[in-house]
């Protein structure tokens, strides 16, 4: 879209604004009614710098505006020169045939004295102004802590207020009140540096303000008139963020601190946590009660490193409680939609008095507000500096891993003085390093909630799977071991490294154990949910699958077999997660885990080492019921 940008001389300084509705601005600066500008005097002068230029350029003029002493003496020519200099580099990026047009279009600086203002302005009555004020308040509340595109604002208002009528005027008033901020969807890069001796002037791409990605696609845009208007391809699914789309950001209040009201033990009592859980939750509570660190480093972080089956979800309840008691807003982000849907009822049950909002792609609660927000990571793109506490579950899981867009979104959703808590059974290596060097405060939960040690994987030397498939024969030791597991009544997870191995391997298994109900499933299987359900209900006794089921699935009394455990596709974290499926229930805490492979790799030994280490720490800390040998 196109924008008006103007400068205004108030009693103390020159200021620069963008405008969606100039009538609102004129009334704000020149009107006499209630609730107008905070400075009592009318401005001395107003200069319209440009009235129909792409929003991206207008935003640059505003953002780089620095009041100067001599501006008071400037006439139209000086102001025009000022504007020309600011947007010259953007006009030069346009195709040649457009440049002349843009040069004429931008020659419309107008210096307005009071008389000129009064002739172009039809004042609203005080009732009308009050109505606009109410509308602005509503809008401010609705988008507090969010950064939304114009289209999203319209969708939100249609749902929340039943209509969008005149929201642009209300938004403009919100901006003048200092509660909203208008930005372009993309942040323009600094103007091109002339080629120097050491570094060549490289054209930088604009960056998406919403997802942080570089926007390299440029197309002609009918909305702003530019022939090279950039747009972000990375977050297209959430509505298109362009160099000329309006991104409206509602400022949220300052962050609250999680009160450590009284002793942490009292706060923890209500939740019935195990000793290991309480110790870690207590450490996290102390972290929440700390004063905020300098905002230059970003919000403070805390890692809860809890073994698989430790009961991470229960552990975050007291933390959420502490922030909610202080009047804060909390966010729990999970990697996948099914995890969010599983967590939602547990949170609602734990906090019956709070409103829990569940967000995922296509969620009906998309525009609702609540004190607890539970969301998949993509949904975080719609928030900015909204939460006092952000809990990120399974920080190592898809899709945070190697996705800078989601990391950016998670970073932005938290208030500057807010706090982060990461949860993971297998933190990524950089976090582990930071924790080891003492740069990242953390707490380990080395024992499962039932107080039994983690099952330590056993080695089983067998041929690689592709060889078994070639020879159409299963290795005898594997079959013997599987039979033993099944006859002790356990459910068996059998992980393979590749989807294409599932069907033929299942066939071989079926041949050697004809009367055992077994199935195979993978990410491309539409009946996955049904099969997992049948497996849980023991209708299926053996499930051949890939890493898709490595986390989040709890099946009582289960054993885990990983064939081709030497595969590159199984890193240390994946092996630990898969091993973590075994022995999760109280009734069968000692499930079996078998790494079946022709070779013993570094990933396998690291995984076993980490499991043993956690058991050792748990034993020393006295968290184990049965003494660990």
């Amino acid at each position: 879209m196109q924008m008006i940008v103007y400068a205004v001389r108030t009693t103390d300084a020159w200021r620069c604004y963008l405008s969606l509705d100039m009538q609102v601005d004129l009334q704000w600066w020149y009107g006499d009614g209630e609730g107008q500008r905070e400075i009592s005097d009318r401005p001395h002068r107003m200069v319209i710098l440009a009235s129909s230029i792409p929003l991206g350029w207008a935003a640059v003029i505003r953002d780089t505006f620095r009041p100067l002493q001599e501006m008071d003496q400037w006439g139209g020519d000086e102001w025009q020169g000022y504007v020309d200099k600011k947007i010259a580099s953007y006009i030069s990026e346009e195709p040649e045939r457009n440049q002349a047009r843009w040069r004429t279009v931008t020659q419309d600086v107008r210096v307005l004295d009071e008389r000129a203002v009064l002739s172009g302005w039809t004042p609203r009555g005080s009732e009308e102004w009050k109505a606009l004020m109410r509308q602005a308040e509503q809008l401010i509340c609705a988008i507090e802590g969010r950064a939304l595109l114009a289209g999203e604002i319209e969708a939100l208002l249609t749902e929340a207020a039943g209509g969008t009528g005149g929201w642009r005027s209300a938004a403009q008033l919100g901006v003048l009140l200092g509660r909203l901020r208008m930005e372009a969807g993309l942040a323009q890069p600094a103007p091109r540096v002339p080629p120097g001796r050491l570094r060549r002037g490289r054209a930088m791409a604009p960056r998406c303000r919403r997802c942080g990605s570089e926007a390299r696609s440029r197309t002609a845009c009918a909305a702003c008139g530019s022939a090279a208007c950039a747009y972000c391809e990375a977050c297209l699914a959430m509505g298109r963020s362009r160099a000329c789309t309006l991104l409206l950001h509602g400022a949220a209040g300052p962050a609250v601190r999680g009160t450590a009201g009284g002793s942490p033990t009292a706060a923890l009592g209500r939740w019935g946590l195990s000793a290991a859980q309480s110790a870690a939750a207590g450490a996290a509570l102390r972290f929440l009660a700390e004063p905020p660190v300098g905002s230059s480093a970003g919000p403070a972080r805390f890692l809860i490193w809890a073994v698989t089956g430790a009961g991470k979800t229960e552990m975050i309840f007291p933390l959420l409680q502490a922030v909610l008691d202080a009047g804060g807003r909390v966010l729990v982000a999970a990697p996948r939609r099914d995890v969010v849907l599983e967590l939602a009822p547990r949170l609602s049950k734990a906090f019956p008095d709070e409103q829990v909002i569940t967000l995922y792609g296509g969620s009906p609660e998309r525009w609702k507000r609540g004190s607890i927000t539970l969301a998949t990571t993509h949904q975080l793109l719609r928030f900015r500096e909204a939460f006092d506490l952000v809990v990120i579950d399974e920080i190592d899981a898809f899709p945070y891993h190697n996705d800078p867009m989601l990391a950016y979104a998670a970073r932005n959703a938290c208030k500057k003085e807010g706090k982060y808590i990461y949860l993971s059974a297998t933190p990524p290596a950089p976090l582990q390093r930071e924790a080891a060097r003492g740069r990242l405060p953390h707490a380990k939960v080395p024992a499962r909630f039932h107080g039994h040690p983690l099952p330590v994987p056993r080695k089983l030397k067998i041929f690689p799977v592709h060889r078994c498939l070639q020879q159409r024969r299963l290795p005898l030791p594997l079959v013997r071991s599987l039979r033993a597991s099944l006859s002790r009544g356990a459910q068996v997870f059998l992980f393979v490294s590749r989807i294409r191995h599932i069907a033929p391997f299942l066939e071989l298994l079926q041949q050697s154990m004809p009367d055992m109900p077994m199935e195979g499933t993978s990410s491309v299987d539409p009946a996955r949910a049904d099969k997992v359900m049948a497996f849980r209900q023991r209708e299926i006794r053996l499930l051949v699958t890939t890493t898709i089921l490595e986390r989040g699935v709890t099946v009582p009394k289960s054993d885990v077999y990983i064939v081709d455990a030497n595969s590159d596709l199984f890193d240390e974290a994946a092996l630990i997660q898969m091993a973590g499926r075994a022995g999760r229930s109280k009734d069968d805490p000692a499930g079996r885990v078998v790494f079946a492979a022709p070779q013993w790799t570094r990933s396998q030994s690291l995984a076993v080492r980490q499991i043993k280490q956690m058991n050792r720490i748990a034993g020393k800390g006295g968290y184990l019921r049965i003494e660990f040998r």
Binding site: M1, G151, S217, T219, A220, C221, A222, A223, C229, Y231, E233, L236, A237, R240, R242, F463, P464, R467, D568, P598, Q599
Partner: protein
């Protein structure tokens, strides 16, 4: 045991070799190629830039239309319906059938605004135009025209169905116009902006056939300079015709001005009909008949 040992050793060696080769391949081979339509890392198609072979194969081309009026690939009750069934255009041809995949592509382009699809859709339209040209040329499917035998069927101008100003500002582009300008460039025929939308109609996708017909009446008018553009195109076409007459000798003196009208989807034909009607209002002023041929990207 010994045998196992050797096999295992060989396996290990082969495995490491394979790893080294994979790394080297990643290093030397072409950069990662990701199909923008399905997001998979797969070899890209040569004809259509940016999509993979699997996606290209999945395109439901209409090679031989069953209905010669509206270009539908299946039997067409609309065109054989009795009663008032006038068409202001000569015929319509579409590149593809509008199936789930095509719906997804168009939605990605039109509603999501992923403009990477622009090139793909224009390319598909160009292929459909080639088919149309072959079908309508007097020699029919005989492609071996000798040089100088210029009786090839062709259009004299390309135009497109307009969208309203509101929609244009909201979307930032007019998908039909983008496709049309690209096609015009490829077939070396002038693209003319002839039409505009008189009022902002609601989205077509929510309406019944009768509603659409009624709604479209008078929705389009020609732009102010349309008649000048048309007469200029006519003059250029006649000049070319006179030049070719020497060689050609097919002596039809009356030259109908053939305009190719582009749109993204043909559903009931009411949109293109209304546009063609608006264009043909200028026949009198032009002093020549105007034949409107429609080429749409998808036939639903």
């Amino acid at each position: 045991m010994n045998r196992f040992f050797w096999k295992e050793t060989i396996d290990v060696i082969l495995h490491s070799l394979k790893q080294i080769l994979d790394k080297a391949h990643g290093f030397l081979g072409t950069a990662a190629q990701i199909c923008f339509a399905c997001g998979k890392n797969a070899p890209l198609n040569r004809e259509f830039a940016g999509i993979c072979d699997a996606c290209a194969r999945a395109i439901p081309w209409i090679v031989r239309p069953r209905c010669l009026a509206c270009g539908r690939a299946i039997g067409c009750p609309d065109c054989s319906r009795t009663g008032p069934n006038e068409r202001a255009f000569v015929l319509n041809r579409s590149a593809v059938m509008y199936n789930g995949l095509m719906r997804e592509w168009l939605a990605q382009y039109k509603y999501r605004g992923n403009e990477r699809y622009a090139g793909l859709l224009a390319g598909m339209l160009a292929r459909a135009y080639a088919l149309m040209e072959r079908e309508l040329s007097p020699e029919g499917r005989n492609r071996h025209l000798r040089v100088g035998q210029m009786s090839r069927w062709m259009v004299h101008a390309v135009t497109s169905v307009p969208v309203s100003d509101v929609r244009l500002r909201e979307r930032g582009f007019n998908q039909a116009e983008v496709m049309a300008t690209e096609l015009a460039r490829q077939i070396k025929v002038p693209y003319l902006r002839l039409l505009q939308r008189k009022r902002h109609t609601d989205k077509q996708s929510f309406k019944t056939r009768m509603d659409r017909m009624r709604d479209m009446e008078d929705a389009f008018v020609t732009r102010p300079h349309a008649i000048e553009l048309l007469s200029r195109a006519l003059a250029a076409a006649s000049a070319e015709k006179r030049m070719n007459m020497v060689l050609d000798r097919s002596n039809d003196a009356l030259l109908p001005l053939r305009v190719l009208l582009i749109d993204d989807i043909y559903t009931t034909g009411s949109t293109v009909h209304a546009c063609a009607e608006a264009l043909r209002k200028h026949e009198k002023a032009l002093g020549q008949p105007i034949e409107v041929y429609c080429l749409t990207w998808a036939r639903s």
